[in-house]
């Protein structure tokens, strides 16, 4: 009996599936490469989470293609002095539940960010914890006083999604953290957002359903203050494996997928029914060397010295690597060589940096000059499941270096091992990646290149202990300069210095790919976000 029943069901299933693949025009289904872990916009500062958040919530400002802040919930802002920022808010905005948006919601959001028990390094807490006071002279004006100078306040606030104060019981909301800001009920938990109760925002979509591991469905927010998106419903389906995700696109399950594997691009190109877009991202892949220690664990030299301490050796390494070949052969052209640490268009970048030369002969000469005519031995550590084609890139680097006499042995490992060993400063020579954020050039420089200073909270990822007081001075001054022109100049100088002294060696910028069926179009974004409201329905 079971047999018969199953057979009958299978036949029925086949029959319905035949007719079920065509989608109505206003529905969009996107296959995601990684799943958001929560709908709570302040839970965890991760690309998939932030990306989902941007559909449901709005921020005071929104980042443009080069991550500079553009008005969103705030219409304008200005720095009254180094420590005071004034934001003017839009007056025509309603939350998806119909309540009005005003300064009280923003203050409530700031309070919630600081009262977020379950969060992992709560999104926004680093900016809000710097607030001395927040006042609302009128319902649509905010005056924020900071403890330390924060020159990129609008950019930082572009990462803090605004939630509605209607989701908790409260008296008058004030930025009075010790007294719960006037909130009388319990602070919303991550579950309240996941089930949709607290997921009330001013974004272009409303949450319909979040089922972990299976799918996330969104509905158009009909009272959204901005341009209405082309889609009535959007479904995100997380499919982390590349093969099945592409199969889902080809079979018509999804209208669009994130990050198809570079090796599959040819297949998409050949197929008339599909297209793809490749957008240079702001993620740089770079080499990091142990410069601080005289005796580094994975280096073997005749005299026991650490060759990475000599700038000529670092220049030799940079010259030994053919960046263009890596981009052409390993990345299938879907990347671009990096001659600095952020894309040329971003804030504080060198406008057109001199290409780093590929010259193995000169590399050998430099090595000889530095006292290593016969090279040396080093173990090179890299991930094999974190960045696009990371293990192949690392192999290529190892071969390029071996060719000029630096005998390089590659040890590629899974990211969970790599990142904890790297933060334990175990490596002598490793390959990392970094996607620059709102700070522009400051983002990489302050985190990786400045001398580690726990009290200041800078240099946390300077695992190789590269230290240059002159360089530090430029960066530290830049990150506390409010004047944009001056900050940009300082950062450019610091970036140039980092490139000249090669404390880190940039390799290339990854490109991000999206593939979609004909009838759908997406421009791609440097910040790697997939935003359904920017996906357009092409006229066929």
């Amino acid at each position: 009996m079971n047999y018969k029943k199953t057979q009958a069901c299978a036949v029925a299933a086949l029959a319905t599936a035949l007719g079920a693949t065509s989608l109505s025009a206003q529905e969009l289904t996107i296959g995601l490469s990684s799943e958001p872990t929560a709908v709570d916009p302040h839970y965890h500062d991760l690309t998939p989470n932030n990306q989902l958040g941007m559909h449901i919530y709005s921020m005071l400002a929104t980042p443009d293609a080069n991550l500079m802040a553009q008005p969103e919930l705030a219409t304008s802002w200005e720095a009254e002095d180094d420590n005071t920022w004034v934001f003017k808010l839009r007056e025509d905005v309603k939350f998806s539940d119909g309540t009005d948006f005003d300064a009280s919601d923003v203050i409530f959001t700031f309070c919630r960010v600081m009262n977020n028990e379950s969060a992992i390094g709560s999104t926004g807490s680093s900016v809000v914890s710097n607030f001395e006071s927040v006042e609302a002279p009128d319902p649509h004006t905010l005056r924020i006083k900071t403890k330390q100078v924060e020159p990129i306040m609008p950019e930082m606030l572009a990462g803090v999604p605004i939630i509605s104060d209607s989701i908790v019981e409260h008296d008058d909301i004030t930025f009075d953290l010790p007294n719960d800001c006037g909130v009388t009920g319990t602070w919303p938990s991550i579950d309240d957002f996941n089930v949709g109760e607290a997921a009330v925002g001013t974004g272009p979509f409303k949450l319909e359903k979040f089922s972990k591991g299976a799918e996330i469905s969104l509905m158009r927010n009909e009272i959204y203050f901005g341009t209405q998106p082309d889609w009535e419903t959007v479904t995100f389906v997380p499919v982390p494996s590349d093969g099945p995700r592409l199969a889902g696109l080809l079979s018509g399950d999804y209208d669009m997928i994130e990050s198809p594997a570079a090796r599959d691009v040819a297949q998409i190109e050949e197929n008339e029914a599909f297209e793809y877009v490749s957008t240079p991202s702001n993620r740089v892949i770079f080499l990091q060397m142990d410069i601080g220690r005289g005796d580094s664990p994975f280096i073997t030299t005749e005299d026991g010295s650490n060759p990475f301490q000599d700038v000529r050796v670092r220049q030799a390494i940079s010259m030994a690597i053919d960046r263009q070949a890596i981009v052409d052969r390993i990345m299938d052209g879907l990347a671009r060589p990096a001659y600095q640490f952020i894309p040329d268009e971003m804030f504080g970048a060198i406008p057109s940096p001199a290409p780093m030369e590929y010259n193995p002969e000169k590399a050998k000469e430099l090595l000889a000059e530095a006292g290593y005519p016969d090279g040396f031995k080093v173990t090179f550590h890299a991930t094999n499941d974190r960045y696009i084609n990371d293990s192949q890139i690392a192999q290529a680097v190892a071969q390029f270096l071996t060719r000029v006499g630096i005998e390089t042995e590659l040890d590629a490992m899974t990211r969970s091992m790599f990142f904890s060993r790297r933060s334990g400063r175990e490596f002598s020579f490793s390959m990392g990646g970094w996607a620059s954020s709102e700070g522009g050039a400051a983002s990489f420089l302050r985190q990786y290149a400045v001398t580690t200073d726990d009290a200041r909270g800078v240099g946390g990822s300077n695992y190789g202990d590269w230290s240059d007081p002159e360089f530090d001075a430029f960066v530290l001054e830049a990150i506390s300069t409010v004047d944009e022109t001056k900050r940009s100049e300082l950062l450019q100088q610091a970036e140039q210095m980092a490139v000249d002294k090669l404390g880190f060696i940039p390799l290339h910028f990854e490109s991000t790919l999206w593939a979609f069926r004909k009838g759908v179009s997406y421009d791609g974004r440097a910040d790697q976000f997939t935003l359904a409201y920017q996906v357009e329905r092409a006229t066929e």
Binding site: R245, G248, D253
Partner: protein
């Protein structure tokens, strides 16, 4: 009987305890989850606060005893990645895996046992040899490859079935299931087949081996001599006797598939427990991995207990007695 049950329960607790130590030490040695979880832009102070909050600044034995203390009160910890209780997270994924495995095993035994019987009773015939040979194939093709071929043929080329996901679900006693909707069934079809094929081969081989042996047993020959109809011989005498090893294997397979249908679930993006396990391992979500292994151990222990009771029901000679 009561004493036997008690004894088995005690054994089970000891097993769970031993497993908890082993798995805790294993996940502990892999790496520090903070480096994967925390935003790379976090300052050193934020990082330290995070480590303290997750209790990772404690020595391993202190972490273990905290875990044990909470576990005894039914709290298996909170997922580092998802921020909700680990057990709740795992259980929310269980129905998906459960229906996949149950359907796959039903399919495998509904087809496999009759075919196996047929083969066993016609031992040595050409048809039987062919079935046996192809069953080796069904058993040995790697699951991920088979899955990809199924997707290629039925989803990409023929466009008959959806490539991945779970499709529409309906609530049955408050639990979401796919097998009650057409859309859900079309999503179920390929993963079920993928999971059923090796088990189908296993059922065929197991039944065939048992039947061809049983056919020559004295009680079958006697029944035949007595003039019992051959259908009745097969049903009452052969099948009933060869079911014991089949049920044992089904029990073991059920546990194993519930726990580790990881590959099938990954290939078809089926939102089950196996997919959760593999993601949690990659993300070093320690509480989920530990809770998962504990839960699976628990299921195995229970299934084994049930299998023992099923023996007794099927074979009057088997008695459940305690070891003194």
């Amino acid at each position: 009987m009561l004493l036997y049950t008690l004894q088995r329960l005690l054994q089970s607790v000891a097993v769970l305890f031993a497993v908890s130590i082993a798995v805790f030490l294993a996940v502990y040695s892999v790496g520090n989850p903070v480096d994967l979880l925390i935003s790379p832009e976090a300052t050193q102070a934020e990082r330290a606060a995070m480590i303290a909050k997750m209790g990772l600044d404690q020595p391993v034995w202190a972490q273990y005893f905290t875990f044990l203390g909470n576990a005894l009160q039914g709290d298996m910890g909170t997922s580092f990645v998802h921020g909700i209780p680990a057990l709740q997270l795992i259980l929310s994924r269980m129905p998906a895996t459960f229906e996949l495995v149950v359907l796959a095993l039903l399919l495998a035994s509904a087809i496999g046992i009759p075919i196996g019987l047929w083969v066993g009773l016609r031992d040595g015939s050409r048809g039987a040899r062919m079935v046996m040979t192809s069953s080796i194939l069904g058993y040995s093709i790697p699951s991920f490859w088979k899955g990809m071929v199924l997707i290629l043929v039925f989803a990409v080329w023929l466009n008959w079935l959806p490539a991945s996901g779970r499709g529409d679900t309906v609530l049955l006693l408050g639990v979401p299931f796919s097998f009650l909707t057409f859309d859900g069934l079309s999503h179920l079809a390929m993963p079920v087949i993928n999971l059923a094929i090796p088990n189908l081969a296993l059922m065929i081989r197991l039944t065939a081996a048992g039947a061809s042996e049983a056919v020559h047993q004295d009680y079958v020959l006697f029944a035949r001599a007595k003039g019992v109809r051959s259908k009745r011989i097969i049903r009452r005498h052969i099948l009933r006797n060869i079911l014991i090893p089949i049920i044992t294997v089904l029990g073991v397979e059920f546990g194993a598939l519930i726990a580790f249908s990881t590959i099938t679930e990954t290939v078809f993006a089926w939102p089950g427990m196996g997919k959760l396990l593999i993601t949690s391992i990659y993300q070093l979500d320690r509480p989920v991995v530990v809770a998962y292994v504990m839960l699976i151990t628990f299921i195995f222990v229970v299934v084994n207990l049930l299998v023992d009771f099923a023996y007794a029901a099927l074979d009057p000679r088997v008695k459940l007695v305690e070891n003194m």
